[in-house]
Amino acid sequence: MSGDDSRSEAEADDRGRDGDPPADRAFVCRECGRRWYYTKPQCPDCDSDPSAHGTEELGEGTVRAVTRVEVTPADVRSPNRLALADFDGVGLIAQVAGDDDPTAGDHVAFAGSFTLRGDGDRPQPRLRVIEDGE
């Protein structure tokens, strides 16, 4: 897991339309160290503004819940396999790559390059099951 000391120009350019970083990165507050996933206008702990927020790779997480969505919007793949996973206290829901079929307790990491929804053609990684020791 690598932390960024500051928001680089390249990182800022990698933000999507809504200011969201790539799917495999969490926010981190340089003032207090708090990490979170879902873009916010201020740190949930110390209220610092976005100029104090960097991002870092999420690394490896643990699956807590899964679903396979068969009825999906026109611009979303079908079926859409999703996992709710915990990355060292940072929770998120993300698409699962390929034919991976995780269950609760499995370990996952982001990998690959795909097109998600509503974000132009910006490539994004999906969750992939990783075997112990991988």
């Binding site: 999507g16 819940a65 068969e70 609760a104 509503g118």
Partner: protein
């Protein structure tokens, strides 16, 4: 003692497609509530209008003002309320607060939605937009959250999928005799189990439909009228014992427990604290069953059942019409239908009918004197609870 009373209610039948405009639907429900209350339209002093999707679906904007004109009550105070799928209950709360504060003598609250007014993909997208942008990018829909929660519930509590199907079968059975329900047809547990997958483990019959419809309620004070202008019968009408709401996390994955809907728990605690009663004192409940698993989770969050036990109670018949706690006697969102802005008001309409006891025998919860309604926005973004007493 003065209290907030609901002397009149009315609604349209919820359907998959109603040809009437959004304004016409709302006006029809309003007229029925006004007649039911035994008042004249000129008695109304404020109008509180809930709709969630009107603008997103290219329908009437400024619905409150358009409705005031359609009803011929220009001059009243009017506002529009939006709280996604809890829009209706929030509109009711604004009406209650307008009367309680003295700002309004007779509040007319209406919730309305016309989801057939756009193609399904447009409606689905409009609803999906209530998610966080990073949730939206993953293609998340409301049934996606339902599937994740349902899978976690069955897994953690070692419950069978029949538990979910039993909720669907019960609510469809309750709707058969409900003249304003969208689906007046029984669905067996087997049918529910065998219906197509929407979001594993949720099947089609685990999910509420898209609906058109409107529901309305008149709110006033029970002691209004010492000056001779009372709403007739308001002192005997069903009253509001308490109302409370709470927001939860916007992104679902920020919750410490995927099975916890904290907004329901907090709003429920506030409701019971304000009313000075507990879950054991409730005779009938209208629970936001947009997905069958939500009925189970919400019953647990509200304290009716311990965590992980609502499914067994449901399979044992405790939440059926003849059970210890009848839940969703009108069919719930599942079978009465779920026109977003109207649903929360329709729960109040159902409770008023139940507490007045003026329903046919097969529709009535015998002897009910206290009921609660829970209307939930998003997948727990905001929960809006109301307690009524006969």
């Amino acid at each position: 003692m003065s209290r907030i009373a609901l002397p009149g209610v009315g609604m349209t039948r919820f359907t998959s497609s109603d040809d009437r405009s959004l304004v016409d639907l709302a006006a029809t429900a309003c007229r029925r509530a006004v007649v039911d209350a035994g008042i004249e339209r000129g008695d109304v002093t404020s109008l509180h209008v809930g709709t969630a999707l009107a603008e997103a679906l290219g329908q009437q904007s400024g619905l409150g003002n358009a409705l005031a004109g359609a009803l011929g009550v220009e001059g009243v105070a009017a506002d529009r309320v939006e709280n996604t799928s809890a829009t209706g209950a929030t509109a009711v709360h604004r009406g209650i607060e307008a009367v309680a504060s003295g700002a309004s003598d007779v509040a007319l609250v209406v919730g309305a939605e016309r989801m057939s007014g756009a193609d399904t993909s447009a409606v689905t997208d409009a609803i999906s937009r209530l998610t966080h942008t990073r949730e939206y990018a993953q293609g998340l829909t409301l049934p996606s959250f339902g599937g994740l929660a349902a899978g976690a519930y069955l897994d953690r509590h070692d419950a069978p999928r029949e538990a979910l199907a039993t909720v669907a079968a019960k609510n469809h059975r309750n709707a058969v005799a409900n003249e304003v329900a969208q689906f007046r047809r029984e669905v067996s547990v087997e049918e529910a189990l065998d219906s197509p997958v929407v979001a594993e483990p949720l099947r089609l019959y685990d999910c509420c439909p898209m609906s058109d419809g409107a529901a309305a309620v008149v709110v006033t004070r029970s002691d209004r009228g010492e000056g001779g202008d009372s709403v007739s019968g308001a002192d005997h009408a069903v009253g509001v014992a308490a109302h409370a709401s709470a927001t939860g996390t916007h992104p679902v994955a920020e919750r410490p427990d995927p099975l916890a809907i904290e907004s329901v728990r907090v709003a429920g605690e506030r409701l019971f604290d304000a009313a000075g009663v507990g879950p054991d004192d409730v005779d009938v409940a209208c629970i936001h069953d947009a997905f069958t698993v939500l009925e189970l989770i919400e019953l647990e969050e509200l304290g009716f059942y311990e965590p992980g036990t609502a499914w067994e109670a449901t399979m044992d018949g405790e939440t059926a019409m003849d059970g210890a706690l009848p839940v969703n006697p009108g069919g719930g969102l599942k079978a009465r239908g779920h026109p977003l802005g109207a649903t929360g008001v329709s729960q109040i309409v159902e409770l008023v009918w139940q507490l007045r006891g003026d329903l046919p025998d097969e529709r009535r919860v015998d002897g009910a004197t206290r009921g609660i309604a829970v209307n939930v926005a998003g997948f727990g973004n905001n929960s809006v609870c109301t307690m009524l007493e006969a």
